[in-house]
């Protein structure tokens, strides 16, 4: 896809150069050299290299703060996504966090012949099954990258699998025995958003095929990124033919319809809207509904929430730079200021980034505010007893 098509596809040519995007951009706030407006300007003037050879192209969080404000409805995140596609072809891929392991893993999973062993955690040490799953079920639970995160993020004491396990526990308690794909592949979210379309396509195809074959009717996600990718991106490449839902929505439904009740947990919490779940998909109320329905939980909101909520500072494992860190510091201070003891989020990536920011090993300490970070489902699982 060339720059011209991108401009067409994303309404970029309607840009009024009003600069609103830049003025609300969380990155621009800390990195003056970063300006959505100027990037679009470069594109419109046809300065392709200025745009695609610029390291900053990978600093955009694609968090949709700008687009939601844009008077001309320019889809800046998608504009960035596609522009990165061009950059990739020129061998540009931004500064990869964690040395690029996570990008590599995605590419490796895109290989047809691999047979992963990604579900070993389902069994306890004695080999007994810890969760009830069923191969015949038409409800699929999406495990996502969690098994790979486990070794990579142990040093920040973050276990993505805990979220997966909590989700399974919830489903089981609600009498659902979901199917899990033993060779599930990366959803491709990060590949897509770093412009690695080749890898993304392959992953989408492999996943779609598996899901079809299994006759799945509904997929439940604990990760907003997978959810977003299946809901908004897969349709452009593959035919899935089934319903997708984020677990917070699923729970909200249960509370609404079946009057699901929780046991009491005394806790003052605040809630972080993940950009994918929030601005990308407009899911703001479901998670709040769930929180409010847990007796004893007091939800205190931060100053910027929902459409205005501030991102966790990095997306797609690229350009996790000093300004990402400052964005985190701002968000964590806001969370701390609410007086909440726990920051609840419903995205594993938010949690990774916030936790990482709070790991401080230098002798000269950064003044990073400390607060417990927890996934919504982990809290719910506790509230559903044992």
């Amino acid at each position: 896809m060339n720059l011209e098509d991108i401009i067409q596809e994303t309404n970029t040519h309607y840009c009024l150069e009003c600069g609103k995007c830049t003025s609300v951009c969380p990155v621009a706030k800390y990195d003056p050299s970063f300006s959505p407006r100027r990037m679009i300007e470069n594109a419109l003037l046809g300065f392709e290299d200025e745009l695609t050879f610029n390291q900053k192209l990978f600093s955009c969080l694609t968090c949709y703060t700008c687009s939601l404000r844009c008077p001309s409805d320019v889809d800046f995140p998608v504009f960035i996504q596609k522009a990165r596609g061009i950059a990739q072809n020129n061998g540009q891929h931004g500064i990869c966090a964690h040395a690029g392991q996570l990008q590599s893993l995605a590419r490796l999973m895109a290989s047809p012949e691999i047979k992963q062993s990604r579900l070993e955690w389902l069994k306890g040490i004695d080999g007994s099954a810890l969760y009830r799953i069923s191969d015949t079920s038409d409800v699929l639970f999406w495990v996502g990258c969690a098994p790979y995160f486990e070794p990579i993020f142990e040093d920040i004491e973050f276990s993505a699998l805990d979220i997966t396990k909590a989700s399974l526990k919830i489903l089981n308690l609600l009498g659902i025995e979901p199917k899990l794909l033993p060779n599930e592949k990366c959803c491709g979210h990060d590949a897509l958003w770093t412009g690695d379309i080749v890898t993304f396509k392959k992953l989408a195809e492999y996943n779609a095929a598996q899901i079809k074959e299994a006759g799945i009717k509904k997929i439940v996600f604990s990760c907003p990124e997978g959810y977003r990718t299946f809901k908004l991106d897969y349709p452009n490449y593959v035919d899935l033919g089934c319903e997708v839902q984020h677990i917070s929505e699923f729970l909200a439904e249960k509370i609404e319809k079946d009057g699901l009740k929780f046991k009491e947990i005394e806790k003052k919490v605040t809630y972080q809207d993940p950009c994918r779940l929030g601005r990308h998909l407009g899911v703001y109320d479901a998670p709040r509904k769930v929180l409010e329905s847990i007796p004893g939980i007091e939800l205190v909101e931060m100053p910027y929430i929902k459409e205005e909520s501030i991102c966790c500072g990095t997306s797609a494992w690229t350009n996790c730079d000093s300004c990402s860190n400052m964005i985190r510091m701002q968000r964590l201070s806001e969370a701390k200021a609410t007086g909440a003891e726990t920051l609840i989020t419903s995205c594993p990536k938010c949690q990774t980034h916030f936790r990482c920011a709070m790991v401080d090993k230098g002798d000269l300490k950064r003044s990073m505010p400390e607060i417990e970070v927890m996934d919504l489902v982990s809290l719910v699982a506790n509230a559903m007893g044992d």
């Binding site: 964690h98 040395a99 690029g100 392991q101 590599s104 893993l105 590419r107 490796l108 999973m109 895109a110 290989s111 047809p112 012949e113 691999i114 047979k115 992963q116 062993s117 990604r118 098994p147 790979y148 486990e150 070794p151 990579i152 142990e154 080749v198």
Partner: protein
């Protein structure tokens, strides 16, 4: 159809294993040509990413080899390498790769023959195992 020739990337630390490989050559010890050495300063320099990348590029096996614990030029490089390797091993396992495809060795400067033996061993093992599942991908790219 010719016999499958595995490709091995060996990350060797400059001070011990790389020197051992040199010694093997100097003393004309013969070993299969399937091994390709990437010279690093210390085994602790090998990020998991480099190993993953080697597999991604179609390596059938990878060897990470450096000094023994007590003769590290940087005092405790091997310890740090072990920590890295432990994570890597788990990643590679989840990917569904056979354990034999990834080896951690400690080969001292004087152990040219050991180096040759280990290459020999891995080549034979990998021939039994056959090509790495990731080859398919890289060929697809071509």
């Amino acid at each position: 159809m010719p016999e499958f020739e595995p490709q091995i990337v060996a990350f060797c630390c400059n001070w011990c294993t790389y020197a051992a490989a040199d010694l093997a050559g100097t003393s004309r010890v013969q070993y299969p040509s399937n091994v390709f050495i990437a010279r690093v300063m210390c085994s602790a320099m090998v990020s998991p990413e480099y190993v993953l990348r080697a597999f991604e590029n179609g390596a059938d096996g990878v060897i990470v080899s450096g000094c023994k614990y007590t003769d590290c030029h940087y005092v405790d490089g091997p310890v740090k390498c072990d920590a890295m390797y432990a994570k890597l091993k788990r990643l590679v396992h989840v990917l569904g790769l056979e354990d034999e495809r990834l080896r951690r060795e400690m080969i001292a400067t004087s152990e040219g023959t050991v180096f040759a033996r280990i290459v020999e061993e891995s080549v034979n093992q990998l021939k039994k195992l056959g090509p790495s599942p990731f080859k398919a991908k890289t060929e697809a790219v071509a």
